[in-house]
Assembly symmetry: C2
Homo-oligomer: 392 residues x 2
């Protein structure tokens, strides 16, 4: 008699985006002529840049001709793309071997799969507020979760606490939802903690391309990270691949636990459980790492950054505390007048027709906070900023 | 201190294809002018058909324009594709709801991931010879494997044995590597066994498009399967997607264990652990299920089937026993003169410059057997058949 994985019963249903869309729908039905300004979504709105489109078309063309057709790809990623990613790290003086880079279908897919490397007895530390998937993927595996709450006092960038004990450490920097980014010193403290305790950091670097100040883009800019960290990256926000799907993961060969190389284990996992990522999409990804690709994706990122500037200026003017926005596509603000997350949501929707994301959707300590995405339409963002100022 | 998943240490290294390529390389270096006829690969050799290429290009174009750009896709698959797949099943009178169909990156990816639905205490029955990934994915999860050997006596289509007890039952029909295909009665026996024991069948239907006789393409053509089976399919061999990556999985809503719906659990798994499959690739897949797409993929399949006919005729003439070939892209033959798999491999390579796959790579009971793939080049296949006849 088959026994289902009963850990699923321990998952909490997430009604966050369901509730948001229900409230927006209700408002729209009552006020059909109102234009709603959507700053809630974590999805990009700009299309892929030209050089990526061109490379995707070429990839499709290759699949149409016997001489250039590609069947099964290496499960760990195509050499042409691994080399490009290695060189991308090299520009920041992070020296990797190409076979420390694994091509993936995206960060969310990889964050789910990678847990297969670890014993289920391990505990997972999640810095909250956080993407709920970190917790849920570990609940499915039956792991114990250690919650580490952050807040205004630590600028949502908590330091490791020697009293805490955990084996897997999730660090997302720049952070979703708070937009906060660790400094080199901050990350060094976590790397040292991990090396002292034998923990492994899962470093979610999905938003690294938004960093403009002097902060680490990669955990491997930190001394000691090669013995304690896995980095999971994505082209979703970097190059608008949310619906096109591509990412990459770095597992250093120096990452060994109980004599087992996590890099070698991941090779074995991928060759057993996948047949690699689509040739066409890998060709599209390759274009992102060319000089022209880097130039073009930066033009798109600038549009989102301009959105951020507009919103930050408005928040500054009305005197609302926030973090993020500068090195990240998210702005995390404190709801004014000690309002709750949902209370502020309702106010923005009903008074200003602005949709954002209530902070408590990212964990208990997100209550009283609110997330604006800067991925929306520029004209809508400017109008949202104008309306926000009427809150004064 | 992080504990790695020590089950990886129980995995046997697979040297099968490594050893094959080593021997081929050595031969080629000694005989640089010989043309080697490759019937070993399980990969397709024909490019994608025109209508799929056209649809992929359109998908890429959509990603280039803001108005038609697609960001995050539904994690369970795009409606346009789920509906098409539902209709494809409908043609064989298998009635599904669209939300019983999940779009995947391919069968191998899904066969790895789907195990997340089951408790690790379950045992997995593998009918051997078999794709080594069935066993390995369960070893990684720490599950007990129940091996069921098949052979010439049962035409490599064993029936369930009431003395055997297992919770997860792998059935691959048409089979890799043997090419054997269950009849309706054969599958009915397995479905009845699963329902009696509360087991769940993982039905690998990756080769269904090669069936030409009256055999079930889907486990859901069998009465009772909706309460005991998951079907995992792929466009890899159906439409040449080995390097393009797309598949689909059917989990009926009637599949419930201990009150838990496996369909609902899989929705939760996908929304937690993925962000869906590439929009572009799903558009390519959509074209496969149009009338024109079905016509064009059948033209490609016919090329492989003609390869099979040529090889079967040669084997008939020299009096070698085999199965498969008729409803499957693989031919599974008994090595002549009681030769071992590797002995026959060496003979074919050194005397005839033909490369095939030794049967023991698929499990102990594959010893003394040999697999020919029909996915190779037609001219090479004809030449291989001619040379085989010199074995007489």
């Amino acid at each position: 008699m088959l026994v289902p994985n009963k850990n699923y019963a321990d998952l909490k249903d997430s009604y966050l985006f369901f509730n948001i869309s229900g409230k927006v729908k209700e408002y729209s039905e009552k006020h059909p002529d109102d234009h709603i300004l959507r700053l809630g979504i974590g999805d990009v709105s700009l299309p892929l840049c030209d050089t990526v489109i061109e490379s995707l078309h070429k990839g499709v063309d290759d699949q149409s001709v016997k001489e250039r057709f590609h069947g099964y790809m290496p499960e760990v990623g195509a050499d042409f793309l691994r080399e490009k990613i290695k060189a991308y790290y090299g520009k920041r003086n992070v020296v990797l071997d190409a076979d420390e880079v694994f091509v993936s279908s995206g960060a969310s897919d990889e964050l789910g799969d990678i847990l297969d490397l670890f014993d289920r007895s391990n505990s997972a530390l999640v810095i909250e507020p956080a993407d709920p998937a970190y917790v849920d993927a570990n609940i499915i595996a039956g792991r114990k979760i250690v919650h580490l709450e952050s807040g205004r006092a630590d600028n949502f960038l908590p330091m490791p606490d020697e009293k805490l004990s955990a084996d897997i450490l999730y660090i997302c920097s720049p952070n979703n939802p708070t937009g906060a980014v660790y400094t080199k010193e901050g990350l060094k403290a976590w790397v040292d903690y991990a090396n002292r305790h034998g923990s492994v950091i899962l470093f979610d670097a999905a938003y690294e391309a938004f960093i403009e100040e002097d902060r680490p883009h990669s955990i491997f800019e930190i001394e000691g990270a090669r013995t304690c960290a896995i980095e999971i990256c994505s082209l979703s926000k970097t190059a608008g691949f949310t619906g096109t799907r591509l990412g990459y993961t770095v597992i250093p060969k120096d990452l060994v636990r109980e004599g087992m190389s996590l890099n070698k284990m991941w090779v074995r996992n991928r060759t057993t459980k996948t047949n690699g990522v689509s040739y066409i999409i890998q060709r599209g990804g390759e274009a992102v790492f060319t000089d022209e690709g880097q130039k073009q994706i930066k033009e798109n990122i600038k549009v989102y950054k301009d959105n951020a500037k507009v919103l930050m200026k408005a928040l500054d003017e009305i005197g609302i505390w926030y973090c993020g926005g500068k090195n990240a596509p998210y702005i995390w603000l404190e709801c004014p007048d000690k309002m709750g997350s949902w209370e502020f949501f309702d106010l923005l929707l009903n008074k200003l027709q602005i949709v954002g994301t209530p902070g408590e959707g990212f964990g208990k300590c997100g209550e009283g906070f609110f997330r604006f995405s800067t991925f929306g339409d520029p004209a809508d963002t400017i109008e949202a900023a104008r309306r926000l100022k009427t809150l004064l």
